[in-house]
Symmetry: C2
């Protein structure tokens, strides 16, 4: 479902030109569970944004579900994201003064889903990440770091995505809560969804079936691993 | 140097009343190296903010270097922070459009240090966290997550603090970079500085000499540990 061919990304700002990806090529089939690892600054989040159609490569081709994303206009890209992708950002990207509930329904707010159905799906996602119900009316800036992270994960699930891209989804979670999040991802993968997650923790990467290592904007290793 | 007596913290917002700390008591001597661990939402960051004089307890007493912080006015609290505390926030709290350099000199910008000395100290701190010099002119929102984390750590060191409070300082770092940050903290501790860090990673906590565990706003364990 994911076909990356020779992806390059150059950020070009004042005093900030960086060759973040230098020719990255790989294919991820539907239903796979892959972990991306690598040093800080090696290009993992940059790659993830391209995979999630949130950014475009400087050169190279990216095909998602057979479609070359370079041929889609902004409207079509937004539609692809809305219907098929769930994205968990490294910095969560929640609306700080909106409530947990409001944040989680955001991706399906302007779809043809009726309000009760939206709230039901948000509640289901929040329950799946084990966020205490009394926190659902807090503003997202009235939560702990790990609670915000779980809200970000719940939000990524509410549009029923076939592709889940999670950037360091357990970075702010204690080991027990992190384990339960990985069990959730395993269940979602069993349902046939494709999961790609970035992590720096070997215990988390061990739960994936394949590890892609990135170094200085290039893939240094791409291997299937035996189940932990 | 840190004396916490029966600290309680109740957040009281609309629909957001939470008893985050329920009576926390402990003492940390000058020069100690302690790790705080506990489940997501258990009160760790809340406690850290009180220790760093960024927040006040609802009830209970907090003495820093012998002074009861409840008796200090806002001006005196700011002065205590500026002269003795280095704080690394869980969400970094950098100024996104300011450069790395600008962000790191912030804590000493209005002190009697001259501009070259400020820049020298910022460069020293950035070198200590191994942030590539060509990144120093990037705006902080033009960095990877782990690079932002290292800028936040560098910023916490530039005022030469005797107390360093770090909230999940390695959460976005690969294992190798995280290890080098822990070696930096060990060196700073050897220089006599007091270090308290929050972490959910056992390998990181193992580098501290004492582990304080928090659960539901109470201390569940407080023990010295043998060196790893
Ligand atoms: N501004 C606020 N208003 C209401 N409740 C809050 C506020 N900030 C934090 N809380 C609540 O206080 C409790 C403790 O939060 P705290 O941030 O101290 O947890 P933590 O141990 O640091 O968690 P984590 O490991 O997830 O970062 C949580 O249940 C949280 O929801
Ligand atoms: N807007 C930007 N402008 C210039 N350079 C950027 C920008 N965003 C990221 N970079 C640079 O691109 C490189 C790759 O960044 P990226 O965020 O993909 O790394 P990463 O592998 O996710 O790192 P981490 O593990 O620290 O999160 C880094 O060196 C970073 O400084
Ligand atoms: Mg990243
Ligand atoms: Mg916290």
């Amino acid at each position: 479902v994911i076909e990356a061919v020779d992806l390059e990304k150059i950020y070009d700002g004042a005093g900030a030109k960086t060759h973040a990806l230098r020719g990255v090529t790989f294919t991820i089939e539907e239903g796979e569970f892959a972990a991306i690892m690598g040093p800080s600054g090696s290009g993992k989040s940059t790659l993830m944004h391209i995979l999630g159609c949130l950014d475009v490569p400087t050169t190279g081709t990216y095909r998602l579900a057979g479609r070359d994303v370079a041929e889609l206009d902004l409207h079509e890209l937004a539609e692809v994201r809305r219907s098929t992708v769930g994205f968990v950002f490294q910095a969560f990207n929640l609306l700080p003064r909106a409530t947990v509930m409001r944040n989680v329904v955001m991706p399906i707010l302007y779809t043809r889903t009726d309000p009760e159905e939206r709230e039901r799906r948000a509640a289901e996602a929040l329950t799946a990440v084990q966020l205490d119900e009394k926190l659902w009316t807090h503003r997202s800036n009235e939560l702990s770091g790990g609670q915000m992270q779980r809200v970000a994960i719940a939000r990524s699930l509410v549009n029923n995505p076939s592709l889940i891209l999670a950037d360091e989804p357990t970075g702010n979670l204690d080991t027990a809560t992190g384990d339960s999040v990985m069990e959730l991802f395993a269940r979602l993968n069993d349902e046939g969804r494709t999961i790609v997650l970035i992590t720096h923790e070997p215990d988390i990467a061990a739960r994936a079936k394949r590890v892609i290592r990135i170094q200085d904007g290039l893939i240094s290793e791409d291997a299937v691993q035996a189940d932990a």
